[in-house]
């Protein structure tokens, strides 16, 4: 049981990285990145490919950070003539293209089979010590990402980003280069998700193209909405809550006498009900964005 709890907490910390990254884009800057999973994929596959060629795991993480940052910058430049909603569609397309490249470049990426047997930093540590090492690593990374995100949103850069979200025309008239700011925030946010992707891949020692489907992006959006979009603390707790709901609901059938054949459907139903009830009773999420509260009180 302890092992499973450690596992759930580790995965939640990894998801916190994804959520913090997306929060910088969607929550703070208002960039609806529907292709967020691409950054996860770049990190994951960098680690996988480097491991496949016998490289050190740190090298994989590093490659993921650099490549994802470049990809982020490119995606930021990509949409400079597009309205926000069209840009969202482009990001979805970029992520899908990446997935198709991964499926078809079999020699490099293992194709549809994916890459398996990837050795991570604690592969030689077994049992409880191994699980604890992973948990500590992931929690430290999530904490670092949180600090980075808090610092970024707290400084002038963060204010510009929020202005970009609320009044892009005003931002432009004040002399802010919208494309440059967009490019900058994506280049900073992408590596956070890439590190998450790397660590996740090293942890479960497998990556396949089916983990790059758009549904993974929407799962992270769900975390943001539950946690409170625009708030870094919300992103972290959103990730934790969603992970707890998904993992915890596996035990429903152990507690209540649900027939085997409908247990899984009941589980999904409960997850859906909990999330819907949550959105109805607390639409602003667990932690509302502070800035907005100030606006309201004026």
């Amino acid at each position: 049981m302890l092992d499973f709890a450690l596992y759930v907490a580790t995965i939640a910390a990894v998801y916190a990285l994804f959520a913090l990254s997306l929060n910088l884009q969607a929550g703070v800057t208002g960039l609806l990145n529907f292709g967020h999973v691409a950054f996860f994929g770049v990190g994951a596959y960098s680690s996988g490919i480097v491991a496949l060629h016998g490289g050190h795991w740190l090298l994989g993480v590093l490659v993921g950070v650099v490549v994802s940052s470049l990809l982020g910058a490119v995606i930021g430049r990509l949409g400079r003539t597009l309205a926000a909603d069209y840009w969202a569609i482009v990001t979805l397309a970029v992520a899908e293209c990446l997935r198709l490249v991964v499926v078809n470049e079999g020699d490099l990426t293992g194709g549809p089979q994916g890459i398996s047997g990837i050795a991570g930093p604690f592969s030689s540590v077994s049992g409880l010590a191994g699980s604890l090492s992973w948990l500590v690593l992931c929690v430290v990374l999530a904490a670092l990402a949180y600090l980075v995100a808090e610092t970024l949103t707290g400084m002038q850069f963060g204010r510009v980003l929020r202005l970009l979200r609320e009044e892009p025309m005003l931002a432009a008239s004040l002399g802010h280069n919208i494309t440059a700011e967009k490019t900058r925030v994506l280049a900073v946010a992408a590596p956070i998700a890439a590190v998450g992707g790397s660590v996740y891949t090293l942890y479960i020692s497998y990556i396949g193209p089916n983990q790059l489907l758009p549904i993974e992006t929407f799962l992270v959006f769900t975390m943001l909405i539950i946690g409170g979009i625009g708030n870094n603390r919300g992103a972290v707790f959103g990730a934790l809550v969603i992970q707890l709901i998904y993992a915890g609901s596996r035990f429903l059938k152990d507690i209540f006498p649900i027939p085997d054949q409908s247990a899984s459907s009941v589980r999904l139903l409960i997850v859906g009900l909990v999330l819907t009830a949550f959105l109805m009773t607390r639409p602003e999420g667990l932690f509302a964005e502070k800035l907005r509260r100030i606006d309201v009180h004026q």
């Binding site: 398996s116 009044e167 497998y206 027939p259």
Partner: protein
């Protein structure tokens, strides 16, 4: 606070809806029989022998997953009626994989670390089974592949067994069938995924060895609305026969467009023909030939009767027999070993797997613990149904 902000909530709620819908899939499709409510509460039972299963109970393969679960349910009922395992009841804890690798590993983690199961069966898609098997191998837990056929599975390790023949065997059988009919120039059309990729190389090798040649190989991207470009490539290579495999919506679109293009004049050979034709309009697949797994072996008659009695219908898919056999074999192996130690179970399984009379025919493991012989049926699609070819 404008457009951007207003756009965000609906978009995200939409995203949430997509997540849930995708997870839900055909989850509701559990109909067709008197469920046994009393079997609920499948926590690891004290005083029982616990094994686990990871199946796609929700998502796009949910109807197969449910049928796999039925096989287990029937096996457990039979084993416990006959005195259980090591004098105790057998208890199988079934977890949902939602058809995705990461939630399959979530599920396996729970089975291994919380329920402390002696073995885990699963899954259906090759792309999920491989990482699942590797995780179990790493944890030193017995893995039973009950539904996937990618040759990649053979390399998982000494704790991983397959009760279903991999595509190496299926491909060899298909190549013999084609060569036997004098169809020596074949074009291959299979999905570009773990499963499709597993067919291409073994078939090409076996077919060449049998004197045939492959005129064109198409690995198509799933979920397209048109396959005309792929079909034209096939037609341009002028094959004697099109060897193909497809499921769900894809199979229906491919067959429809091949039919419209007049390509059905060339013989079509379906790998797992039932799966390839079940969703297609009957006229478009008339006279297709193909092969399918033979799910009722000589020992399978009792199993078939039990299934029909319990669920009030014939087999919903070809896959319940494999989970049934896997459960029976695991129970017997644990009983023989007198222990739930993985190494001892593996040794007992190896011993058991030489001519074991299963519901899906004789099961013999090769030196990689994979089923080495798999009986197949040769089938033909005639007037709306698949019939055995004499």
């Amino acid at each position: 606070m404008l457009i951007r902000r207003r756009l965000m909530k609906p978009a995200a709620v939409l995203g949430l809806a997509v997540v849930l819908a995708a997870c839900g899939g055909t989850a509701a499709d559990t109909g067709g029989g008197g469920g046994d409510a009393a079997s609920g509460g499948s926590d690891a039972k004290a005083g029982a022998v616990n094994i686990g299963a990871v199946l796609p109970l929700t998502g796009s393969s949910a109807s197969i997953g449910e049928d796999q679960r039925r096989g287990i349910e029937l096996a457990v009922a039979k084993i416990n009626e006959d005195g259980g395992v090591m004098g105790k009841d057998l208890n199988v804890i079934v977890e949902d994989s939602a058809g995705a690798a990461n939630s399959a590993i979530d599920a396996a983690k729970k089975l291994v670390t919380v329920d402390k199961v002696a073995a885990v069966m699963g899954e259906y898609s090759s792309g999920v089974t491989v990482p699942l098997g590797q995780y179990l191998q790493q944890e030193g837990v017995i893995h039973m592949n009950v539904g996937s056929s990618s040759p990649e599975i053979a390399g998982i390790g000494d704790k991983s067994f397959s009760v279903i023949g991999l595509d190496t065997i299926a491909s060899k059988f298909a190549s013999e069938q084609l060569a036997g009919r004098g169809l020596m120039r074949a074009a291959i059309m299979v999905p570009n995924n773990s499963y499709g990729e597993g067919i291409v190389q073994p078939f090409t090798d076996a077919f060449k060895a049998a004197g045939g040649s492959v005129t064109e190989t198409v690995l198509y991207t799933e979920g397209q609305t048109s396959y005309r470009a792929e079909l034209e490539r096939i037609a341009a290579s002028k094959p004697d026969v099109v060897l193909y495999s497809a499921y769900g919506q894809d199979s229906s679109v491919i067959n429809q467009q091949a039919f419209e293009g007049g390509m059905q004049k060339t013989p079509w050979f379906g790998i797992y023909l039932t799966m390839c034709t079940v969703d297609s309009a009957p006229a478009t697949v008339q006279n297709q030939i193909g092969m399918d797994v033979n799910y009722v072996g000589p020992e399978g008659q009792d199993y078939q009767k039990a299934y029909e009695a319990k669920y009030g219908e014939g087999f919903a898919s070809t896959f319940s027999g494999y989970t049934y056999d896997a459960t029976m074999m695991l129970a017997k192996a644990i009983d023989d070993a007198g222990s739930t130690d993985a190494d001892k179970i593996a040794a007992a399984l190896k011993k058991l797997g030489s001519g074991y009379a299963g519901a899906t025919g004789d099961i013999t493991f090769d030196d990689q613990n994979q089923r080495s012989e798999q009986p197949y049926l040769v089938l033909k699609y005639t007037d709306g149904k698949v019939v055995e070819e004499g």
